[in-house]
Symmetry: C2
Subunit: 204 residues, 2 copies
């Protein structure tokens, strides 16, 4: 039996139900911790499920930030320092990653609050998460506020990639299953994935 | 052993290797078929791995399109008709979904080329994919060309949701595993996922 909801029914839903449903509709989402630092050296860590590929040459990644929720510290730091890190979340990390979304006071770094270790590179001031199997350093290249709902689109250019050597195939494919990465559905459900294999380049 | 690539090394990579690597860095990506139609009634279907959640109230979803590749037919149709559908790809569908990315001539609908069935709603002109377990109808509300690489950001407002009733929990959570949804890594690897369960709302 098919459930069909038109716009009036969606708008009439209880707030939390609508949030769960709409957040689930995008399908499986990647889970990344965004690492930032302010000019006083205070580190910040926030879980993001809205990171997406923008381009390979130049190498670009994007994410959407809600300015009125906790990640505004991340946004302020990104703007101030011009850089951030993305750190893939694996099955050993996901509970701590989820916990970073609690409303900690600014003085308390989420690294300390959830027990993760910042690690630095000479390429950028933002901290990586030592425990993450795939660490990406980016500089801010574009930022726009979406007129539709005031979310902020941030685009970063990749300046460094750090990952365990055995995850990387000769052709550039990264073994996300071997890395133990999780994905997210909705606001709070985590999943591990199993490969069905690769498909050939399609021809008509 | 950690592999570290700085920007000069990334830029020096063989083109296909860089494309695979950078496309893998975003982690698991959702797989959706975007359904469109032109004014002559020609339907079009294209696989997208760049669909993301934008907001729940109003209900908004976004996607990035590369204007210089096949999905330009999708973009032209979205602009002309002001609407499109997103259809979640499951484990029964993913081979056909992947095949839609072949360069078919415009006269041949990908529905016919890969053997999928268009189905229509009175709410919009764009076709749904009958075989998809989660079907979403959207109207175009924003469109921007990204200065960084000319990809086109499309934002749609959800006007209809159609899914099998048993997938939807009372609190709005959709069971993506039960729906058999796949996710994608890189350009061509498909995965099924297994839930690790839901996490409680985090408090400091």
């Amino acid at each position: 039996m098919k459930a069909i909801f038109d716009r009036a029914q969606i708008d009439a839903m209880e707030r939390r139900m609508r949030a769960n449903l709409i957040n689930c509709l995008a399908g499986y989402k990647s889970a990344n911790l965004i690492g930032t630092v302010d000019s006083a050296g205070h580190t910040n860590l926030a879980l993001m499920s809205s990171v997406f590929h923008v381009g390979a040459n130049p190498p670009l990644m994007g994410l959407l930030l809600r300015p009125h929720t906790v990640p505004r510290h991340s946004l302020e730091n990104i703007i101030e320092q011009g850089c951030f890190t993305l750190n893939a979340v694996d099955r050993l990390l996901y509970r701590q990653a989820h916990q970073t979304t609690a409303r900690y006071p600014r003085e308390l770094s989420e690294f300390d609050a959830v027990g993760l270790t910042p690690v630095f590179s000479e390429k950028l001031t933002a901290p990586y998460v030592a425990q993450s199997p795939i660490q990406i350093g980016l500089t801010l290249v574009d930022r726009q506020t979406m007129a539709v709902n005031d979310t902020v689109l941030v685009i970063g250019e990749i300046i460094e990639i750090r990952l365990a050597e055995h995850l990387l195939a000769a052709d550039g494919q990264v073994d996300l299953h071997e890395a133990g990465l999780v994905c997210v559905s909705g606001l709070d459900e985590y999943h591990v994935a199993e490969s069905l294999g690769r498909q050939a380049y399609p021809k008509p």
